[in-house]
Symmetry: C2
Subunit: 219 residues, 2 copies
């Protein structure tokens, strides 16, 4: 493989890793903004989303340029096609962090999350951020073992999501419908964010093994 070609493929991978790290940071900041009712912090997440959208467009143009110029086949072709799919997942993750930040902004100066759910939502934010940071790592290293861990890690998010719903449905819920609506939406945003991180990892698994992660024997 010529150096310029190798360089182009490496730049695409770097771009994806950068997008994943921005998304991970965005969901962390959005969670803090939500729990602290911090409008200024929420606004930084909202502004950062444009950056992610721009990176996605750039990456797509770059992928198309590589396809046209290098006419890759086999592994390199799958790398470029996978990059297109991963960049879409990451752009969408950024939108979900944006949604969390917008929730904080809409309820400002009130808190959207009642105190007794603070710990659960904080943990959801941490799990989401950790999953996406790990997805960034998987993009960079293509390590199969780490990639396959993500689905298991996501179980923690599912447990938290279920716990959140149990609290909502509890007869002792005292916070009225507006809080219930916002907590429902927040729960959904975190769950979807985590799903995208898992999808990114699955895409890398497919790239490395040629097999969908669901069809692999458990590690």
């Amino acid at each position: 493989m010529r150096d310029a070609y190798r360089e182009e493929l490496a730049e695409i991978t770097d771009g994806l890793e950068q997008m994943a790290l921005i998304a991970a940071s965005a969901i962390g900041r959005a969670t803090t903004a939500l729990l602290d009712a911090d409008l200024q912090l929420a606004e930084t997440v909202i502004a950062a989303d444009d950056r992610l959208d721009q990176l996605q467009r750039d990456l797509e143009e770059r992928a198309i340029a590589v396809l046209a110029r290098q006419q890759p086949v086999a592994t390199e072709l799958r790398t470029v096609v996978t990059a297109l799919r991963i960049s879409a997942e990451l752009e969408r993750s950024g939108d979900l962090a944006l949604n969390v930040a917008k929730l904080a902004r809409r309820r400002f100066p009130d808190h959207a999350v009642p105190h007794e759910l603070h710990a659960t939502v904080l943990e959801m934010g941490h799990v989401a951020q950790r999953l996406m940071a790990k997805a960034a790592d998987v993009i960079a290293t293509r390590e199969l073992k780490t990639a396959l861990e993500l689905e298991g890690d996501d179980d923690a998010m599912d447990d938290l999501h279920r716990a959140l719903f149990r609290r909502l449905m509890d007869d002792r819920w005292q916070h009225g419908v507006e809080d219930a609506v916002d907590v429902t939406l927040a729960g959904r945003f975190y769950e979807r964010f985590a799903d995208h991180a898992v999808s990114v990892a699955k895409r890398v698994v497919y790239l490395v093994t040629g097999t969908y992660a669901d069809d692999l024997p458990p590690q």
Copy 2:
């Protein structure tokens, strides 16, 4: 362009159109299942989603095969890359119809949607189905005028979504938190479904004009 090549590109477009029509039908049936608390109908939507996932995988493999074999450039290259992105939007739309069907199943034999919101949710289902059917049309015809209409059509969904939230937040809401949670989720599913239809149309606009729909002068 050789006939076999032209044929391969046409098959990809046909596959996308078929996916969009399946998604449109799925959201229509899911809405009926939700409003009628019809478990059997809900199950057909849940089963149809596998079909959509399979079509998406097939289409992706076919796109990769065309890239490898024909090494397309210029318009044909963009067509194939756009097809990859559109297929992901359509697969995700199917998941959202699935989510609506699962909502119906989870609450069966109860109704998840209170009577006084029946008309609003029905209309959301109709708008969603119409938008996706129109997206299928845009995929097949690449008609710029129709493609550009979709964003305007989506305003109807936004209005319905706002109306739904107003009812939820209304002090006269008598249906408790469980219904509020389910209506919130349903509203979100319909809104996202419509967004995907709009994204499909925007992708086609970009393919035809080389310009993002947001940057075009209003028609």
